[in-house]
């Protein structure tokens, strides 16, 4: 077995074995999905139309933004990265493998949601499954890259929670998961366009669900992809092997560059 494969297999098992990760990868998203399916479809019938993309995206946000960064910070602080470095584990593997295993867990969760939502909540299925999977993959890539970047730049687990919630909470509130983007006031809508969740929901609606996009869905996909690539590059650039951070190549504030594609998108759409 190749080293990367062995490492991937271990990290994937960790996603189930570790109680926090199990909670954030599976229990929280699926529990929330069931709860929202039962409650929200009664309160807001429009929610039924977006339950598949919204709850799949919720799973992505929970697993990547809340689940991914903390183990990275803990591993750095407890000397695991140093141990990896000594034993030849490349930085690329340290950053990529947790993101990839999280993506695999998310694929399982998304499949569960897609299989059960039509049966349990009479949720409409995507008109274009290919586009649905494409948006899901791109959204997962972007959010996972953001999660990894947060783990890289966060100096402590306490700050990790703050950074992650700074993206997660607004995404939940105004990212189009609970309320349609079109219902947001102008200022909130502008702010919402800085969030990956907004663009992901816009792309889901426009390309996969046949519900009509609020702005260019392909543009949203490009913005997400560019931001994900930027986040991944910045994570590699700002990565440090230990907590003293003496050999970090740039200031952590550089991480804010991931917003650049969204700002451009805001001006264009």
């Amino acid at each position: 077995m190749h080293a990367f494969t062995a490492h991937f297999a271990f990290e994937f098992r960790t996603g189930i074995r570790n109680k926090n990760l199990l909670l954030l990868n599976y229990l929280f998203p699926l529990g929330f999905y069931l709860m929202m399916g039962l409650i929200m479809t009664g309160i807001n019938p429009l929610f039924q139309d977006t339950i598949l993309p919204a709850m799949s995206l919720f799973a992505v946000l929970a697993a990547t933004l809340l689940g991914l960064p903390d183990p990275l910070v803990n591993a750095r602080e407890s000397g695991i990265f140093r141990s990896y470095k000594i034993n030849g584990v490349p930085a690329a593997s340290i950053l990529a493998i947790p993101a990839l295993t999280t993506a695999l867990h998310l694929a399982v969760v998304m499949a569960i949601i897609c299989l059960t939502a039509p049966l349990l909540f009479e949720a409409p299925t995507p008109q274009n499954w290919g586009a649905f999977l494409l948006v899901f993959v791109v959204a997962t890539f972007t959010c996972a890259s953001w999660g990894v970047l947060i783990g890289v730049v966060s100096p402590s687990t306490r700050m990790t929670v703050l950074y992650a919630q700074a993206v997660f909470l607004p995404s939940m509130l105004i990212g189009g998961l609970m309320l349609p983007y079109s219902m947001l006031p102008e200022a909130a809508a502008a702010f919402a366009q800085l969030l990956p969740a907004t663009h992901a929901m816009n792309a889901f609606n426009g390309l996969a669900m046949g519900a009509g996009a609020d702005f260019s869905p392909w543009g949203s996909l490009v913005v997400l992809l560019l931001s994900g690539l930027l986040a991944l590059g910045l994570a590699g650039y700002l990565f440090s092997w230990d907590s003293r951070n003496t050999e970090r190549r740039g200031h952590p504030l550089l991480a804010l560059l991931v917003l650049a594609p969204f700002i451009v998108g805001l001006l264009m759409f």
């Binding site: 080293a3 062995a6 030849g88 050999e247």
Partner: protein, 303 residues
């Protein structure tokens, strides 16, 4: 035994304005156990981390098995094994998984035999955080030597271990030395360094305060040899006897205790003194100054 495996010339490492290691030079020969001693903050870990390729030195020339740790990281990893002070393993990893993972990255088949050798057979599928401190240390050592490194760095390998686990680890270190592995042992435990190390270096405030074989270092100090004598009639307890080369004399329980700077003269005179007066020697103990005494002497000399 004469080839140099580690060569350090003028090593300097600083963090901001704080100088952790300043102009340190030493070498270690193949098959040696080399003790690196010093109080907290003396620069031991920084020096080790530069040799291990974890940190880049600010100045100096380093060679580990002929490899420059700062420029040849890939080659270095093939020849060194490191047991870090902190465990450095994910909480949920099992010994089996850790062995598989690290061996794969070293491009060798997993050395599960080492888990058996270090008494971890029954714990092969137990998560790391559920292992005892001793088992965690043994696992770390097994992982460090799995690829049969020529140079092994051990940072406080026996800290927090019970007597049996310490003895086991000391046995393993002895075996590795027999096999020709060069070992750098950073420790606070003077008795451990004295018992295991062929040579030791004492670092103080980032500088090399002393280097040599433990016996040489203790002999070079100002310490006095302690002689404790117990006789049948307690002859020596009653009076302050004029014994040659003795600078201090005291009594503790049934023993008369002397501190001598010439042990030969003192012991011969004591035996003669006791037998000439019809008393009988029950017990005589000689304790030369330990490495710890020398270490304390050095640390007290330097603020």
């Amino acid at each position: 035994m004469n080839d140099i495996m580690i060569d350090v010339q003028g090593l300097r490492k600083q963090y901001g304005a704080f100088v952790a290691v300043a102009d340190v030079s030493f070498h270690v020969r193949r098959g040696e156990i080399f003790g690196l001693l010093g109080p907290n903050g003396a620069g031991k870990t920084s020096a080790l981390e530069c040799l291990e390729g974890i940190r880049r030195p600010d100045a100096g020339r380093l060679r580990v098995a002929g490899i420059d740790p700062t420029r040849q990281a890939g080659k270095l990893r093939q020849v060194i094994g490191v047991q870090l002070q902190a465990a450095g393993l994910p909480e949920s990893i099992t010994p089996d998984e850790a062995m598989a993972l690290f061996c794969r990255y070293h491009a060798i088949a997993p050395r599960y035999d080492l888990l058996d050798r270090f008494g971890l057979t029954a714990k092969r599928h137990t998560q790391f955080h559920q292992l005892s401190t001793g088992q965690q240390r043994r696992l770390a050592l097994a992982l460090a030597i799995a690829h049969e490194p020529a140079v092994l760095f051990l940072d406080e390998p026996t800290a927090g271990l019970d007597v049996h686990s310490r003895a086991e680890l000391h046995g393993v270190m002895g075996e590795l030395r027999q096999q020709g592995t060069t070992i750098i042992l950073a420790t606070h435990d003077m008795a451990e360094a004295e018992a295991l190390a062929d040579r030791v270096a004492i670092l103080l405030n980032g500088r090399l305060a002393a280097i040599g074989a433990p016996l040489e270092l203790t002999a070079a100090g100002n310490g006095l040899t302690k002689v404790s004598v117990h006789t049948r009639d307690g002859l020596l307890l009653a009076t302050q006897s004029p014994i040659p080369a003795v600078t201090q004399q005291t009594v503790k329980e049934q023993y008369a205790i002397y501190f001598s700077h010439n042990i030969g003269q003192t012991v011969a005179a004591l035996i003669a003194h006791v037998t000439d007066r019809g008393d009988e020697l029950i017990d005589l103990r000689v304790e030369r100054p330990s490495l710890e005494d020398r270490f304390l002497e050095l640390t007290n000399e330097r603020p």
